[in-house]
Amino acid sequence: MKEQLQKDFDNTIKNLTLSQRDIEIKKFYLDNFINKGFPNRKEEDWKFSDLNQIIKKNIGELSFYSDYTSTNKVDTSAFVDGLEHNKIVFINGRIEKIEFDYEKKDQIEIIDQSETINKFNNNSSLSDLNSAFTNKSFKIVVKKGYQLIKPLIIYHTTNSKIWSKNINLRLNFELYENSSLRLIDLFRDTSEKNFLNIFYNFDLKENSILKNYKVDKFENKNIKYSFNNIEQDKNSISETFILSSGSNFCKNEINCNLNGEYSSAFVNGVFSINNNKHHEIRTIINHLTENTKSYQLIKSVLEDSSRAVYQGKIFVNSQAQKTDGYQLSKAILLNKDSEFNAKPELEIYADDVKCSHGSASGSLNEDSIFYLMSRGLNYQQSRELLINGFLLDVVEKITDPEVKNLIKNMIGIKE
C-alpha cells in the first residue's frame, strides 16, 4: 500500500497549486498515515469495527488519486423536492456547486481554504489521510446574528465513474454569535466499493444554534467514515441526527466539546440496517465547564445478519459541576444472525452531576404483537407498526418541523 499511497500522493499534489510549506505539511500527514495505516481492532475505538479488514474484504486495493480537473454534470433531478433550500453539491468528491440563493449574500462568507491546512483536533490515522489528500476545503462562516432562512443541503453524490477510490472531504463551519444553521447531509451513491472519509468541524459561538441531519438512506456498497467535531461556546446548542441505513459500512463519529456554560448537545441516531451491513455510531461528549447538558438517544432495528455498534462516552471534568448527561441506546434484533454491540461509557471527575446511561437490546416484544394481532392486524402489520413506533420516537426528537417531515417522508415512517 505504501508505494501506491506515495504514487497517488505525488499525482494529487501535481494537480494542486500549493505553496512549498503546504506540500511539506501534507507530506507530514501522509507519512503519519503510512506509519499508522487504517485503524484495526487493536485500537480501542475500533474494537467492534475493524476498518482495515473491512476495506480489505470489500474493496481490496484502494486508489487514493482522483482526477478533479474535469467537471461532473449536476443532476438536478436528484435535488429534494418540496423544500426550498441552499445547496452544496459534491460529486465524486469534487465540489460542483455552492449556492446560497435564499440568503443575504453579505451574511454568509465562503472561504476557500485549499492553501492553508488547518490542523484538526484529532490524531487518528483517518484524519491524517484526510489532511494529506483533500484537494479543497471550504470554510463557511455565518455572520453575527444571522439566521439562515432556508436549510442547507449538502449532496454527497458518487456515480459509477469511480470505483475502489478513496474520497476525502472536509468542511469547516463557523457560526458567529446568535446565528443559526440547519444543515442536512444527504448521501446518494450509485457507485460501488469506495471509501469516503469525511471531516467536518463546527465552531459555535455564543448563543448560536446548529442543527445537523445526516441521512444515509440509499442502498449502496460504499464504506463511509464521517467525523464531526463540534466546539461549543456559552449558551450554544447543537443538535445532530443520524440516519444510518444505506451504506455497506458506515461509522459516524461525533466529538463535542462543551466549552461554554449553559451549552447543550443533543445526539439522536437511528440504525435501520439489513443484509450484512455493519454500522457504528461513536459519540464523545466532553463536559468541560459548569451547567452543561447533553442528551443522546440511539435506536437500532437490525435485520438479516447486520451488525450495529454504539460507543458513547460522556466525559465530565472536575470543573464541570452541575452537568446533566443522559444516554440511552435500544436495539431490536430481528434475526438470529444480527448483532448489537454497545459500549456506553461514563468518565466522571466532578461530584455534583447527574449522569446516567441505559442500554437495552432484545427481540420484538411477543406480547405487543399478540395484542395487535388480537385486534385484527396480521403478523406483518403488527411487526411493522411496532418497529415504526420504535423508530418514530427518535425522529420525533428532531426539533425542526420542516426537516422532520422531510425525513419522515424519506424513510416512510407513518404517524
Binding site: A331, I348, G358
Partner: protein
C-alpha cells in the same frame, strides 16, 4: 457519645496493620526455573505439577504486562520479589492446632479469626493462609464425614491428585493473561474444596489470607468444585500489614459448578489501602472465574472491596450449561488515593442462561473508581437474559467515577438491559437526616448503607455486619 467517639477513633486507623515478627523461610529473590523448582520441591509436589508450573512459566515469558487498565502504577520488577515465604515453624507440618506456633495463633486471634475450634460459636470452617502457606484448616473432621474435602491446595495435590488434575486450569487455563499465568507458575498455597454429589455443605467454608512478610508477592490459588446437586457458600477475607512499599497480590480463583450445583462466593477484601498520601498498599490483581459447567448450575459472586491501593479484578461467570445462572454483587469503595478498576464478565454460552449484575461504587478523596464489565451473549445462547445496574456515588470533586460496560448481543431471542447512574448524595436527603438529629457524618453513613443495601443483603450474616462497619470506616473523614 464519648464511647462512640472512642470506638470510631479506634476504627479510624487500619487496625490490621501490625506485623507478626516471625522467622521465615523464603525462596531466593527473583523469578526463574530454579525458584519454581524450589517451590515445587518444598511442597513435595509430584512431577505433573512441576510440569504444569514450568509450562506456565514458559508461556509467561512470552507475555507482555497489560497496560489498558485505568489505574496506572509504576512498573513491577518481577525479579525483585520473593515468590515464596513461609513461617519457619511450618516446615514440618504441625499435626494439629496445639503444635501450631503460638505466634501464628496470636496473629489470627488479633485478626479476629480464632482457629481453636472449640471457641467457635458460628459454624464456619476456616482455612488460614499466612504468606505462602496454609497454616490451619478447622472443622475438617466434621466435613469429612459428609465426604466434603476442604484442605490447602498443596495437600489436595498430594491426596486428591485425580480431582486437582481434572479441574486445575480448566477455568483459567495456563495460557490466560499475564498475571493469571504468573500465578499458575508460582502459586504457593490456597484452598481446595470439593463438595460431593448431592451434598449441601452444612457450614460456611472460609479462607483468610494474610500477607505478612515484606517484598513478597502472594500468589494463592483457590479451586472449588461443586459436584452434581451440591451447594456451598464460601467466604474470603484478607488483610495485610501497613508498609510503605507496594505489595503484589495475584491470586487465581477457579470455581466449577456441575449440574444443578450452586456456589456462592463472598469476599470482604480489606487489604492495606496505603496511607493518606497514597503511599504503600497492596496491588490486588486477582483473576476470579467461575464456570457453570452443568445445566441448572449457579454461581454467585459477592464482593465488598474496601482495601488495596489498586484493585484490578473482574470476577466472571462462564455460563456454559443450559439454564445456568450467574450473579455478581459488588460494593467498591475507594478513598484517599486508592484506585479500583473492577467489574465482571458474564459470558452466556448455554441456552436459557441468566445473569444479573449489581455494582455500587463509592469514591471519595482523591480516588478513582472504574466499573468495567462485559456481557456477551453468544449466537447459541437462545433465550438468555442479562440485567445490569451500576450506580456510582461521588464525594468531593477530586475523585472520579467511571463506567465502561461492553455489551454484545449476538442472539435475537435474548435480552440485555443495562442501567447506570452517577450522582452525589442529594442535599435534600442529608438535610432530612440532619434535621432529625444525625450529624453530617452519621447521615452520610446511613445514606451510603442504604445505597449499598442491595449488595450487603447478599452476604452471609457475620460478613454483612463486618462489611457494614467497613463501609463506614472506609469513608471516614471524607465528608465536609
Amino acid at each position: 457519645m464519648d464511647n462512640r467517639q472512642k470506638e470510631i477513633d479506634n476504627l479510624k486507623d487500619y487496625k490490621y496493620g501490625f506485623t507478626t515478627d516471625i522467622e521465615n523461610t523464603k525462596a531466593p529473590r527473583g523469578l526463574n526455573k530454579d525458584v519454581i523448582k524450589f517451590i515445587s520441591n518444598i511442597k513435595k509436589e509430584p512431577q505433573w505439577m512441576l510440569d504444569f508450573r514450568l509450562k506456565a512459566y514458559d508461556r509467561f515469558k512470552q507475555l507482555k504486562e497489560p497496560d489498558w487498565q485505568k489505574p496506572k502504577y509504576p512498573k513491577i520488577d518481577f525479579q525483585d520479589l520473593y515468590y515464596y515465604s513461609a513461617p519457619k515453624s511450618m516446615k514440618d507440618k504441625p499435626k494439629n492446632l496445639d503444635d501450631l506456633d503460638p505466634k501464628l495463633l496470636e496473629t489470627y486471634k488479633k485478626l479476629g479469626i480464632p482457629l481453636q475450634e472449640q471457641k467457635r460459636l458460628n459454624g464456619i470452617a476456616v482455612d488460614a493462609v499466612f504468606d505462602s502457606v496454609s497454616v490451619a484448616t478447622t472443622f475438617r473432621e466434621e466435613l469429612t464425614k459428609q465426604g466434603i474435602i476442604f484442605c490447602p491446595i498443596s495437600e489436595a495435590i498430594q491426596n486428591h491428585p485425580e480431582l486437582v488434575k481434572k479441574y486445575l486450569g480448566s477455568v483459567i487455563p495456563l495460557t490466560d493473561h499475564f498475571f493469571a499465568t504468573l500465578n499458575s507458575a508460582v502459586f504457593t498455597d490456597g484452598s481446595f474444596a470439593y463438595i460431593p454429589e448431592g451434598v449441601r455443605c452444612p457450614m460456611e467454608l472460609s479462607t483468610y489470607f494474610r500477607i505478612n512478610a515484606s517484598n513478597t508477592g502472594q500468589f494463592e490459588r483457590t479451586l472449588i468444585v461443586a459436584d452434581k446437586g451440591s451447594y456451598v457458600s464460601y467466604l474470603e477475607g484478607c488483610t495485610a500489614p501497613m508498609r510503605d512499599e507496594n505489595q503484589l497480590h495475584a491470586a487465581n480463583v477457579e470455581l466449577v459448578a456441575l449440574d444443578d450445583a450452586e456456589i456462592k462466593y463472598s469476599t470482604v477484601q480489606n487489604w492495606y489501602p496505603g496511607d493518606k498520601d497514597g503511599k504503600g498498599g497492596i496491588y490486588n490483581f486477582v483473576t476470579k472465574r467461575g464456570l457453570c459447567k452443568g445445566k441448572n448450575s449457579k454461581i454467585s459472586w459477592t464482593q465488598v472491596e474496601t482495601g488495596s491501593a489498586i484493585t484490578w479484578k473482574y470476577p466472571s461467570c462462564i455460563l456454559k450449561g443450559d439454564n445456568s445462572v450467574g450473579e455478581f454483587y459488588s460494593i467498591a469503595i475507594t478513598n484517599n488515593h486508592q484506585k479500583a478498576d473492577t467489574g465482571t464478565k458474564m459470558i452466556h454460552l448455554g441456552k436459557n442462561t441468566k445473569s444479573k449484575i449489581i455494582s455500587k461504587g463509592i469514591s471519595a478523596g482523591h480516588s478513582d473508581m472504574t466499573y468495567r464489565g462485559l456481557v456477551d451473549i453468544s449466537p447459541k445462547a437462545a433465550n438468555s437474559n442479562n440485567y445490569t445496574q451500576c450506580d456510582s456515588l461521588l464525594m468531593g470533586n477530586k475523585c472520579g467515577a467511571h463506567t465502561v460496560p461492553y455489551i454484545k448481543n449476538k442472539n435475537s431471542e435474548s435480552n440485555i438491559a443495562h442501567e447506570a447512574t452517577t450522582s452525589k448524595i442529594s442535599e435534600e436527603q442529608l438535610h432530612y437526616c440532619q434535621q432529625r438529629g444525625l450529624s453530617a457524618e452519621e447521615a452520610v453513613g446511613l445514606i451510603v448503607n442504604g445505597f449499598c443495601k442491595e449488595v450487603l443483603q447478599q452476604l452471609p450474616m457475620e460478613f454483612a455486619v463486618e462489611a457494614q462497619k467497613l463501609v463506614g470506616i472506609s469513608l471516614e473523614g471524607s465528608v465536609g
